[in-house]
């Protein structure tokens, strides 16, 4: 569903807006004056129609719930150009991350790969599994074959500590 569809019947929810501001740990977001520098340089604009300035305006107006359930917040490439170029330090990037975090808290649809990475970290410490790679001549090799040192997985105590961190909001 596109953002426009989500918006057509929407009512602003200022409590949700406060939640985002609390996550940002600052109120720079309200200083956005819609100069559109973020959108004009956005990597995801051309291919995925992400318009960061619209997101900023919608959050400011209190349409956070609609954004949190929209796929659009998962199109950010995290290239950080919006944040770099924002004259108001309102940082669309950080707003996007706050919206994603809220989506996860509310257990709305989240791209599976992110959750998979989290459980992989819990299990092994790393977000990805060790892979066998091939040379251009199609010879398979791994770390050992390449004489790369073995680096240990985190100590057992890590799992409990990480779970504790995941409970925080």
């Amino acid at each position: 569903m596109g953002l426009t569809d989500l918006m057509s019947m929407a009512k602003p929810n200022l409590k949700s807006r406060e939640k985002i501001l609390a996550k940002l740990g600052g109120r720079e977001l309200v200083n956005c004056f819609q100069c559109i520098k973020c959108t004009s340089g956005c990597t995801a604009l051309k291919l995925l129609e992400l318009k960061p300035h619209e997101i900023m305006k919608l959050v400011n107006l209190g349409f956070v719930d609609e954004l949190a359930s929209s796929d659009i917040i998962w199109t950010c490439v995290t290239c950080l150009k919006c944040l770099q170029r924002c004259p108001q330090k309102a940082s669309p990037y950080h707003v996007m991350i706050a919206l994603r975090n809220l989506t996860v808290e509310r257990e709305v649809k989240v791209p599976e790969a992110f959750m998979k990475a989290v459980s992989q970290i819990l299990e092994t410490g790393l977000a990805e599994a060790y892979q066998k790679v091939t040379t251009r001549k199609m010879e398979a090799c791994d770390r050992e074959g390449l004489k790369l040192p073995k680096i240990s997985a985190p100590k057992e105590s890590f799992q409990a500590a990480f779970l504790k961190a995941l409970e925080e909001r």
């Binding site: 291919l47 995925l48 330090k89 989290v118 977000a127 251009r136 390449l146 790369l148 040192p149 240990s152």
Partner: protein
């Protein structure tokens, strides 16, 4: 010069981008840099940031705590994304006492301690600012004068400036200067700051590939001999996934892509095997044949 630095590799390098790790391990000691691995392999927290910002900061700070165990105060982070994630976490705990206290108390349960003095380096600023262009140039035994190359610095080590980054956000030069130090020419091009798209591999893989493919396609039309990268995610997108990326932009891509540390290694006449050049999936032979002549 003799320096000892702790090194944090991150997931991407340790699990698949072995060529970057091999070339870093091979190259830096030649400049008097001793690398000390951390006790454990851990994720920097980048994919966790979209799920839970606090937990991402915790992972990053845990890495700084592991670095603290080595007794060293310089930490090399050759991955752009890890470099950014750790820098962000450091800023978060320095600005927000509550966050710091919470993280410090979780670390304490494991007997770990955060040390705010640990400085974070990337390969680019370590070579450019610490070792210095002059020393790099002096070490070159095989000038790569025949090569016309393009640099791809990547997004997250140059943005955002307030965080204190490795190079200028809009006109990064350090990587080009390092390429020039080998005798090769580093060109300026319109797409220089375009992103490789790797973060989107988690949610929109086709779009991610078309971002990478579009950039390689543009570079191919400029007639460069190769693309130089210094981030494992960018390496994965432009090198390992180049063929796949080509199909998303309707082009046959065959641009040699190599790590900056591999390029410098070639200029220092380090054996290709040791630099992991057999692992690059792009046709690096094209480039190698130009410099062996």
């Amino acid at each position: 010069m003799k320096v000892k630095v702790a090194v944090f590799w991150g997931c991407c390098i340790l699990t698949s981008q072995y060529a970057y790790e091999m070339s870093v391990r091979e190259l830096l000691p030649r400049f008097g840099v001793e690398l000390v691995d951390l006790r454990e392999a851990l994720c920097c927290g980048d994919p966790v940031r979209s799920v839970n910002n606090f937990a991402a900061n915790y992972l990053s700070i845990r890495i700084l705590a592991l670095a603290n165990l080595t007794g060293l105060t310089d930490l090399l982070v050759p991955c752009n994304r890890c470099h950014f994630t750790i820098s962000e976490a450091k800023r978060a705990v320095e600005r927000d006492e509550k966050v710091r206290e919470k993280i410090v108390s979780i670390l304490k349960e494991e007997g770990l301690e955060y040390n705010s003095d640990v400085k974070i380096w990337h390969v680019i600023d370590l070579l450019h600012d610490c070792i210095g262009l002059k020393s790099v140039g002096n070490a070159v035994v095989k000038a790569l004068k025949a090569l016309k190359l393009a640099s791809h610095v990547g997004c997250q080590i140059i943005r955002y400036s307030d965080l204190g980054r490795v190079d200028d956000a809009e006109n990064p030069r350090k990587m080009d200067e390092l390429i020039s130090a080998t005798g090769a020419k580093s060109i300026d091009y319109n797409e220089k700051l375009d992103c490789c798209g790797s973060h989107l591999m988690l949610s929109h893989p086709d779009t991610a590939l078309s971002l990478a493919g579009g950039k390689v396609k543009a570079l191919q039309s400029l007639g460069v001999d190769g693309l130089v990268v210094s981030c494992p995610d960018c390496g994965l997108m432009f090198d390992s996934k180049q063929k796949e990326a080509g199909t998303t932009v309707g082009a046959k891509l065959n641009l040699p892509v190599l790590y900056l540390t591999q390029l410098l290694g070639l200029a220092l006449n380090i054996e290709q095997e040791k630099l992991g050049l057999q692992l690059n999936q792009s046709p690096v032979e094209q480039l190698l044949s130009k410099i062996s002549a």
